[in-house]
Subunit: 432 residues, 2 copies
């Protein structure tokens, strides 16, 4: 068996501890797969005073990142410290030192991914980041391997566990958004400041990483149109259900020809769609490939062991590549020029709920507006409200352009019979 | 770029044509991934007279397998001819000639897999068979990669599209078994002789392959306890639904400690379980790993392009390994002694439907039998039938041993108040 391979670990929180434990507990299996024993030589910690438990007994702790980044014996740097600028700086320095890097950091990969991948490529190093999207699901590897003989045209991901938990509780138990959020915070599922989760930013980072990889096109976070779940109401969920849909916060990446669209929004999918039954804190990524057709990958999105397992899987691949003298990431550098769809090219169905005056001519006035902007309707539901003075009108459109639909919304706002536009959601996944 | 690598294709049916088309259409991408161009040099066909269309224009056709198996220029043999003995003989001969083999043949792998893998290992050749289980889902690769740092304890697979289509139609449309089967045969979804599908044999082959790989234990087809769907009735489906379950034909492989159990049977899963919403001809494999937790992989189980894509993915890996001078299959040879659970060790819930006399004392007589065999009940549903002379009684047990449960069935058969045992199904996947 070949010489021992050494890992430097940046960060010793939940995931870092998990990585160290897995490597220690599976030494034989890992050595067998890699063809060489592997050891965590050093760990970067914030303080040497804290008791790190038995996991730390066989490794060296340091508070100085250079002890790892400049150590010639270290083959791979594993970044699980989180955060943004510092993590990026360390990863860049590691690559510049010719070290391979494995990271679980979606924030850094979404913002500095292209820059870091470029450095990795120049240095002929691997930069792997499976754990940055849906920790327990080997989705990046599946995309890369599938790409050799297929062409991905659509990805839809439930990639944020917190919002999926909140929407599931609201849908299944009829609970209120605020109540579920508070409970999730108390249980530690949601952060004290939940903005990144509930406003869709976390999901946007992940779908931009998926889109960049799946379409081989350098998508920035700014290219992702984002809206979150904080204004979703129980009524929306009720009416969606009645019309055959389940609401999920979905990151969508679509390609038509050479042009793409990437967005995150609360989205209605038919009850029968595989994404509709992904509940609670679970994640799932649905991928449509021209050859393979519909596939979906389901699993835990976060958690100590799922995330650490993903990191170790990457580590195994990097160490194999290193031992064989090949790097695996040349396939992962974006190859195509970014081309974003315009609003005239983005096509989707929409669910629209409005309150209108309940009088003769209302519906005629509405349909005239829809007609004038080429928006045809697939489903209509009208319910009297407020002792008959108001009507709750819900429609689901056929597939229309975003531009036409937004013009309709604008027209409706000025229309006399419309009292209020209550909500509007993208609708995806109808089997055709 | 390195020298061209040559493939010999055994079989030119639907899948073989797909493999050839994908390799021709994706030459650049494949060459980039492998680091060398790849070409289908020869194809084994049954007759040279048949028009093979444009796909055959750039390759050499032969009716003599030795033209491929003994050709020193051919690096990898791809077996997509189907059948049993001849396919096995060709694969064995190819391996003995030092050629790597990729196959889509579940029949051969389920029966001769261990023998062929042994030959491959002795010859330091790769033998890959991703396409043999759930063509469109990269499940074998996911298992192998996950295994390096995790321990799989349970797999449940919907791995036969025909039976899943039949059960979906029966459940959703209330149609009769015979009608759906006839329609599926007319549409070409089911074979003229549907036995292998509907009696569970096809699924048994696949779950034995999954179990062998996931538990690293050489499981034979004879180790799989099998029952099919031909006696499933609409009433069974109705009552299951009422009690919160969906019926699927599921291949199950469970490990507790060092002992395993492998079986295929119509199984009830709760509506909320991810397998419950896998409909029509789709396949899905649910995997529980100690570290990663619950994951599920969903996609097409068959079809020209999904299966051909899986074959080409294997081919890419084999060619990479070949170019690097390493073989990938040493990890895939079973490492543990086979140890099967006894009926005292197999634990499950069960759904049981019986017709009993509708008179005082009936339920007491039944519960006495359950009690005496340690079978406790989780759900009970009783409905009067036949103007009150008969009662339809459905129970779902708590988790019990197979031995206790089968003793109960035997006792019930002799019990005076029981008129008929209508049906009995395994029940899995309750969230605990």
């Amino acid at each position: 068996m070949a010489q021992q391979m050494n890992v430097g670990l940046l960060g010793f929180g939940t995931v870092g501890t998990g990585v160290l434990e897995i490597i220690e507990q599976h030494q034989d299996k890992l050595a067998h797969q890699i063809g060489a024993p592997v050891k965590v030589k050093k760990v970067l910690v914030s303080s040497l005073d804290k008791d790190r438990g038995p996991a730390a007994a066989h490794t060296e702790l340091t508070t100085n990142a250079d002890d790892i980044l400049l150590d010639d014996d270290i083959d791979v740097v594993v970044e699980v410290m989180g955060g943004m600028e510092q993590a990026r700086d360390y990863m860049k320095k590691a690559l510049e030192q010719g070290k391979h890097v494995v990271t679980a950091n979606k924030d850094v990969m979404a913002v500095y991914g292209s820059e870091l991948l470029k450095t990795a490529n120049e240095q002929k190093c691997d930069l792997f980041y499976e754990a940055s999207v849906a920790g327990g699901i080997p989705i990046l590897r599946t995309i890369v391997e599938g790409l050799a003989s297929d062409r991905i045209t659509k990805m839809m991901g439930i990639v944020n566990g917190t919002t999926n938990y909140i929407l599931t509780q609201m849908t299944k138990e009829g609970r209120l958004y605020e109540d579920v959020l508070k409970e999730a915070q108390a249980l530690g599922y949601a952060e004290a400041d939940p903005t990144a989760d509930v406003e869709g930013l976390d999901a946007a980072r992940k779908i931009s990483i998926l889109g960049t990889l799946g379409f081989s096109m350098n998508l920035d976070l700014d290219d992702v149109s984002v809206s979150g779940i904080s204004s979703v109401t129980s009524q929306d969920l009720q009416y969606s259900k009645q019309l055959g849909y389940t609401m999920k916060l979905i990151g969508i990446a679509v390609r038509d020809g050479d042009k793409v669209e990437v967005s995150v929004q609360p989205t209605l999918v038919p009850h029968e769609h595989p994404l509709a039954s992904v509940d609670d804190e679970f994640n799932a990524v649905y991928v449509y490939g021209e050859a393979v057709g519909e596939t979906m990958f389901y699993g835990p999105g976060a958690g100590k062991l799922p995330t650490a397992t993903a990191v170790v899987s990457d580590l195994v691949e990097v160490l194999k590549n290193k031992r064989l003298g090949v790097t695996g990431n040349s396939a992962i550098i974006p190859q195509f020029e970014k081309q974003l769809k315009t609003d005239e090219e983005i096509r989707s169905k929409y669910f629209l709920r409005i309150h209108a005056k309940d009088k003769r001519g209302t519906f005629a006035a509405l349909t005239r507006i829809f007609d004038e902007h080429n928006v045809s309707l697939e489903k209509i539901l009208q319910v009297p409200l407020n002792e008959g003075r108001l009507a709750e009108i819900i429609v689901v459109t056929h597939e229309v352009t975003k531009k036409d639909y937004e013009e309709v919304l604008e027209r409706l706002q000025d229309e006399d019979v419309v009292v209020e536009i209550k909500s509007s959601y993208r609708t995806e996944g109808d089997m055709s």
